[in-house]
Chain length 323, copies 2
Amino acid sequence: MSFNSVIFRHLTINEPRFKCIFKIQDSILFSIRSFLRSEGFIEILAPIIGPCTDPGIRGAKLVSIDYYGSKFKVMSSMILYKQMMIKCYPKIFALSPNVRIEPLEAVSTGRHLAEFRQIDLEVAYAKCEDMLNLAERLLKKVIDDVLTNCSDELKFLGRELTPLKIPFKRYTYDEAIELLSSMGYHVSYGCEIPWDAEEALSSLHKEPFWITSYPISARGFYYLEDESRPGFLRDFDLIYPDGYGEAISGGEREYRYEFVVERMRRNCEDPSNYSWYIEMLKDGVPPSAGFGIGVERLTRYICGLRYVWDAVPFPKIPGVISP
Amino acid sequence: MSFNSVIFRHLTINEPRFKCIFKIQDSILFSIRSFLRSEGFIEILAPIIGPCTDPGIRGAKLVSIDYYGSKFKVMSSMILYKQMMIKCYPKIFALSPNVRIEPLEAVSTGRHLAEFRQIDLEVAYAKCEDMLNLAERLLKKVIDDVLTNCSDELKFLGRELTPLKIPFKRYTYDEAIELLSSMGYHVSYGCEIPWDAEEALSSLHKEPFWITSYPISARGFYYLEDESRPGFLRDFDLIYPDGYGEAISGGEREYRYEFVVERMRRNCEDPSNYSWYIEMLKDGVPPSAGFGIGVERLTRYICGLRYVWDAVPFPKIPGVISP
């Protein structure tokens, strides 16, 4: 695996394929925003740094900075802030900047960046079902628009893209584990699905598909536990087909102070590191649901790129020093 | 000056005024993007961190992070990357995340944030005149759209906003210094205009106005020196009226390797700290011009807010620990 395209991007960004990719990315961003505004969302400004951030980031490390003598983090995701913002407005989204110091071996997946952006959205009083439906219509619209507006660019990239068929197939986590087991992948029950298994599952499909209801032990403290199925969450991932892997992560949110504190303790998180968040929950926030969709991974999938780092103008990948 | 609105934002964000402000901000973001797309721009993803960033940030400090054992910076502005991107596409813009550790006394201006966003744009082969014209039409469109779409919100905020008259008045730096001198403000010639003097100048006006042609000693190494007026730059600032102060900074770019290295040396910058940038200039980049417009300051001006920190959902201000 050569990283020349990353290290020398400042010398190679004038290659015609990049012009095509970033024209398509512009179309993607425009479609997402148009669709969300037509659904009643407003766009807000995402945080960049803060006293705490999302710890539920699957083995990646957070970046710490000195902020006027206090230890701050660069945002790994804006999840905690989305719960704040829906106190103000019921449907919000942002283009949110995230930094995660992924382990070095993450480069081997071709789909991990150390710096990336999500379209992050949240809806007050929404349920999982609403979010799955919204995400399906959103992705369909984005791809329809790219097909209409960027056919020359797709052709140049050699990407044969077809309109999505919605709704997407749904698996529960249990069903996905069982399917993986039949394929020879043995996932430790209760853990995240490892990268190689997820890629194998993805390669088995020709359309995006959902995995829902992860065990509580696999995910962050901010997902709501399913009352009708204790030990499991009201959450979901969307997986792209053809080996492209994870697209979306989301779910309903735990919004009750006592439950969050209890979940933090179970995850060995110290609630005192999340003081404003805890204070906010004590004060009361509405229940909500939402998700984040990685912009670079969506671009990679739509453009049919082998590596996610060709889906961003100034890529940062684990362990590699680049512009 | 009380910072309660910043420190307790997680408890007060449901105040009705914030709903109005962020609805207007959404309209601003939407208008800017629609206008720029109609002018042939594409939106790109801005960098968050990198090995070097803009040093020309008027007394603020950069934030350093450890990136896989190397010292990286959180972006203070994406200027160096804009020059890279116009090698790929001739008209680009981004919603760019910036962090600057401003001196503590910067809070007293009411218009400084430690974390903020710019709409950052760049155009290959453009001149100052093109950029002034573009910025004027952009701002006129944004305000016309807010007047049309957010009249209830403006009314709630008590803001009487009127359509802009373009073109805006233009001063050179020399003329601005002379005017300030007649007002009793004595600015050290060749330096930036201090905050209090800029505010006084701003308060004297009822419409935004330009200050062009700063002395070379006042600005970063990436502005082009004016061939017809050595010692002065082909650059510009836009100042809001009524005391709101700085809106836009921009100019034509120095793109010639030898000249940049010479300017770095004069600014006591070590070229070896900018290795990819220097390498890129050696390889060749087109001449260009562009500017950045602060989203929070634009929102503050349009909403008529006393403090810029009420123009952002999750404010960070110099020296104050907040969500």
